[in-house]
Homo-oligomer: 192 residues x 2
């Protein structure tokens, strides 16, 4: 596991997704594992924390998540942007993407899905079964049962990004066709 990983209090875990980063969805079941990219994710509730993520019917991840009732949302840093793009472009049915793209992983605390190195934060989730949403919209709702962050970038319940920091540690915001934004300038404002 990452030496700089620290637990995040569950009621603060929404802050790991609140700025809209692209995530990697990891899953495992019956000796198989997989990882896919998902820009379509959001926080859904504070306490107990819940999240939404879209997992297409055609994906191997969908099979593993439905079979296991679990998934992890990993929030990748810019250092693994090439891998984030790559795992969105082929199916884990034919290949182990972890091996193919050199993605190191470590064990989660509460679920079988592996967590990925090179990420800024991790949310371990159990599916709240909502068959209509899953079937009609490919929409999955999960309860966050554990949350972690890399203390180099998230500490004391807040993101710690500064203009002087290492740009490779920034989180990612995917658009399309290999185009991303890095998480940008932090600023504070007050009501007018």
């Amino acid at each position: 596991m990452s030496a700089t990983r620290r637990a995040v209090p569950l009621p603060k875990s929404y802050r790991l997704l609140n700025h809209g980063p692209t995530v990697l969805v990891s899953s495992a079941h019956g000796g198989r594992r997989n990882v896919m990219a998902a820009a379509w994710n959001m926080a859904l509730d504070f306490d107990p924390p819940k999240v939404c993520v879209v997992i297409d019917k055609t994906t191997f991840t969908r099979e593993l998540v439905e079979a296991s009732g679990e998934f992890a949302l990993n929030v990748p840093m810019r250092a693994i942007a090439p891998q984030t793009l790559a795992v969105g472009n082929l199916s884990g049915r034919e290949t182990d993407k972890f091996e193919q793209f050199g993605l190191a992983s470590f064990a989660a605390g509460h679920i079988a899905a592996p967590l990925l190195e090179g990420c800024a934060a991790w949310l371990e989730c159990r599916v709240i079964p909502e068959p209509h949403n899953q079937q009609r919209y490919d929409l999955f709702i999960g309860e966050v049962v554990a949350a972690w962050a890399d203390e180099r970038v998230f500490a004391a319940d807040h993101w710690q990004y500064t203009p002087e920091g290492d740009p490779q540690l920034r989180t990612l915001h995917y658009i399309a066709g290999g185009h991303f934004f890095a998480t940008g300038e932090p600023f504070e404002t007050a009501a007018p």
Copy 2:
């Protein structure tokens, strides 16, 4: 209306939300109007395009959206970050937030909800009724019936942000307590 506003083809409208910006949800019904901030939003489908957004039961926006079956997602630029924070901090039941915070608006094309000046993009949405999601999770699903963007920042179906551009035109990513990130450095990557 904004002189630099241009229509976005519906199948490309997911790109207006794909990078995870905080949005302003505008609504109108029976001569009343309102606007609230929502970091918890995401694209849900490409074509016909759909979106998700969380609208709490306690909000005046909730009343207007349920009564009208419509809402707009406005993607604010940094220039109106103070107003974006402010409209999340009080209820439109007691005050007209547009007047109170000097938010100029213009008519949408297909729905009654007003669209806000100072935004980079606009998605006009009709609610797809899902009473269970609305009641249990405060989760609303909408079909995007029209989409617009400011051509200074989104043109030819792509965001046009460059490091040299005006930082006040960047979109916003809200965290908590008045803390935001601006949309950051654009970059392109290839699979490893």
